[in-house]
């Protein structure tokens, strides 16, 4: 039996939500780079991900990883219609903030800040949490993400109405639903299979 839990090397644990780049340390053994076959490389989608311990752990089931990654990319990167990229990232960041995934929140807060240029608002969401006042449109997107993330799910007609009232069309509302829902997938993997570490600090 070679299966075992890994003990993380010495590292600095982030204790606040941040837009800083973080590392991620796996608690289970990723596949070794030299053991990756063509099937695994297809699962990684981007060859550069062979360097990432997170993706080399998930690639133990390459078919699920490939499908997960292609779902992710289309929800966030597809430029056709719907919600602007900045606000898809806002939904991802708000979901991650509410679930408590410091790693995912760091990545998607960076994207939300970059695409929206609203750095102070994004930082306030990270510092104060999902109840903070941003503006009517962002508040509605954050509230919808929180309602979708709660278990039991509390998303309902009032959230749909609130999103329409601030100008979201049907395709944009579906983007909010997809983005927040997807981060309920991503957060659970990041939180439960390893831990974040301040980049380059040991």
């Amino acid at each position: 039996m070679t299966d075992k839990v890994l003990s993380a090397p010495p590292h600095v644990e982030p204790v606040v939500f941040t837009r800083d780049m973080l590392d991620w340390l796996p608690w289970l053994e990723p596949m070794a780079e030299q053991d990756l076959t063509a099937r695994h490389m297809a699962g990684l989608v981007d060859a550069a991900r062979a360097k990432s311990p997170y993706f080399r752990l998930l690639v133990r089931d390459p078919e699920v990883l490939e499908a997960r990654t292609k779902t992710d990319k289309d929800i966030f990167y597809n430029p056709e219609a719907g919600l602007p990229r900045a606000e898809r990232e806002l939904a991802a960041a708000a979901t991650s903030r509410f679930n408590g995934c410091i790693y995912c929140a760091s990545v998607h807060a960076r994207f939300a800040a970059t695409y929206s240029k609203r750095v102070e608002d994004v930082d306030r969401l990270l510092a104060k949490g999902v109840g903070t006042d941003l503006d009517a449109r962002w508040n509605a997107i954050v509230a919808a993400s929180v309602a979708l993330t709660s278990t039991p799910i509390t998303f309902g007609p009032n959230h749909v109405d609130a999103l329409r009232k601030v100008g979201l069309d049907e395709a944009s509302i579906v983007d909010v639903i997809n983005a927040a829902s997807f981060f309920n997938w991503a957060n659970r993997l990041m939180l439960s299979l390893g831990e974040p570490a301040a980049a380059g600090k040991a």
């Binding site: 299966d3 075992k4 839990v5 003990s7 644990e13 982030p14 204790v15 606040v16 939500f17 608690w27 289970l28 053994e29 752990l57 998930l58 133990r60 089931d61 078919e63 699920v64 490939e66 499908a67 997960r68 292609k70 779902t71 289309d74 597809n78 056709e80 509410f98 679930n99 408590g100 995934c101 410091i102 949490g129 979708l148 993330t149 709660s150 278990t151 039991p152 799910i153 998303f155 309902g156 007609p157 959230h159 749909v160 109405d161 049907e170 395709a171 509302i173 579906v174 639903i177 997809n178 927040a180 829902s181 997807f182 309920n184 997938w185 659970r188 993997l189 939180l191 439960s192 299979l193």
Partner: protein, 197 residues
């Protein structure tokens, strides 16, 4: 093209939401591919189909979503799982239900946001019916559903001790995480459909 999300959300081909879902065709296709690879796996060596469906029934039950409970309940019965599992899963759901997300943060400024809550342990009778392997998976699943930020290495050790391989743990983690997504997409689309503009 109809898929599991359409089935669960009641989206008809040619309807407005069908057209909107097609604007994210890759996401739509690969959400279905995720479902297919989790529930029609190439290999059952690390997690059997019956185990996967039992966990799915538990996840659906914890979310209290009848459409998903019915769908995965039917699939479990058709997969030839022991008849006693159905009652054991229902009993586990009844004793495990809660409100999430809760859990702890690393000690520091975020500690004021800690929201303590229960760690689920399966009762002895359900443990006997489901076996120690599925029992460990259910206990882990409860944490992933309600308090994922409490995750820590000892919980993975408990899965290994119960006989799960590293790959098996990746599979069941993906399964619970994927269902956390699928159930929410369905809930969101149903709410939108029920509220025409």
């Amino acid at each position: 093209m109809s898929d599991v999300i359409d089935t669960l959300a009641g989206i008809a081909p040619g309807s407005p939401l069908d057209a909107i879902r097609n604007q994210r065709l890759q996401a739509r296709t690969h959400a279905q591919a995720s479902y297919d690879s989790l529930f029609r796996p190439k290999s059952e060596g690390d997690a059997s189909k019956a185990e996967r469906l039992a966990i799915a029934c538990f996840v659906a039950g914890l979310h209290g979503r009848p459409e998903s409970e019915g769908f995965y309940g039917t699939a479990l019965a058709e997969a030839g799982a022991p008849a006693a599992w159905k009652g054991a899963i229902a009993a586990a759901v009844a004793s495990a239900k809660g409100q999430g997300p809760y859990g702890h943060y690393p000690k520091g400024p975020l500690s004021v946001e800690d929201k303590p809550g229960p760690l689920f342990k399966l009762s002895a009778s359900e443990r006997t019916v489901l076996g120690s392997r599925l029992a460990a998976a259910f206990e882990h699943t409860h944490m992933l559903v309600f308090h994922p930020r409490d995750s820590a290495p000892p919980y993975l050790q408990a899965l290994i001790d119960a006989g799960w391989s590293t790959t098996g743990i990746v599979v069941i983690s993906q399964l619970v995480a994927f269902l956390s997504y699928q159930i929410r997409v369905v809930a969101g689309l149903r709410a939108l459909k029920a509220r025409p503009a």
